[in-house]
């Protein structure tokens, strides 16, 4: 290092290497160096952000689920008994559902969207199951859980209420 360079650096009359030079080093290694404080700061802020995102997601999904308690008229019991099943939309017009009367006479309703790859399940009255034609997934009518094929999660259940001859969907259990 030349005399001039040294003079220039001691010009401020304090440290040989000024503080700003250590913050903005010429050396590649210095530029890439991450101090412990920076690392801890990054980890802390990153964790906070992640935790915040999780809380937000939980809150948002809770908000969405709360909206599915609406009551909705889905059809008459007579029509259901005649056909063996009826199709309806719940909680919104974009959510297809199916209500069936099982062999023992009880009433069940599920989301019609297969939990494998979102094909529409159909009622199989003879086997008393809900079958997905795409990949031969089979769900039980009693509980909605998968009993054969690739699906692993049960179908979301729709709570039904019968008032006289009228059927109402009252809640969606995810």
């Amino acid at each position: 290092m030349s005399t001039d360079t040294k003079n220039r650096e001691t010009f401020a009359g304090c440290a040989k290497t000024p503080k700003w030079r250590t913050d903005f080093p010429i050396e590649w290694e210095g530029d890439h160096y991450v101090s412990r404080r920076e690392m801890v700061k990054f980890l802390t802020l990153g964790s906070l952000l992640l935790a915040g995102a999780n809380w937000f997601t939980a809150f948002a999904s809770g908000m969405l689920r709360r909206g599915s308690n609406a009551q909705r008229y889905i059809g008459s019991a007579a029509k259901l008994d005649a056909a063996g099943y009826i199709l309806f939309r719940y909680p919104t017009d974009r959510d297809p559902c199916i209500a069936v009367r099982s062999a023992d006479g009880t009433l069940h309703a599920y989301s019609q969207v297969c939990t494998h790859l979102s094909c529409a399940v159909v009622f199989n009255g003879q086997a008393n199951t809900l079958d997905c034609p795409c990949h031969n997934g089979v769900f039980s009518v009693q509980e909605g859980r998968p009993i054969a094929g690739p699906p692993l999660r049960p179908l979301p259940r729709v709570r039904l209420q019968q008032r006289g001859d009228q059927l109402f969907a009252t809640a969606l259990e995810v």
Binding site: M1, S2, I26, E27, W28, E29, D31
Partner: protein, 207 residues
Amino acid sequence: MSERFFFIDYSRCIGCQACLQACAECDTHRGTSMIHLETIQRRDSVQTAPQVCMHCEDPICARVCPADAIKKTPDGVVQSSLKPRCIGCSNCVVSCPFGVPKYMAEIDQMMKCDMCYDRTSVGKGPMCATVCPSGALKYTTMEEIQRTRRGIPISAWKFGNEEVTTKVHVMVPREVERVNIDLVQIAPTPAPLPEDSYDVALMLEEV
């Protein structure tokens, strides 16, 4: 194999511009040549001189950069400006004693020779030195250059009062220890030019 260095032997340059072409073909800056081929006293001589970045030990271009865009790697190679940082202020362009950095207005960024870092970092020679037919640019070991050349390689310069040590060596006669460049005159030379309207070299200088 011992470490290889870059050597410039100005006296060997034949002005073929192969280095310019090779530099422009490099993958990292396609089409743009980072090497300068200077014409020395065009009217009196056919001498040309290639100029690559000298990769100073204490790079003044990096020192004056207000945007922290020029970095020196551990092996002493001063890199071209970092794209996200360079603000195109041209501080480096005016500060470099060798006149190496170029400001590229079309991309608003400074670009300069980085000794083909993509190649030299994996043991290959820089593009220009690989193609130079006369050995004016050579990337080889110290022993090899001393064995094959008459001059000696030096890397010490003095610009006025500023001492500069570079990674790139230049070949000079044996009695020279350091290249001293003194400031002679800043204003353009008021040389009385002969009135010859057919002097092609003169026409070129006037352009």
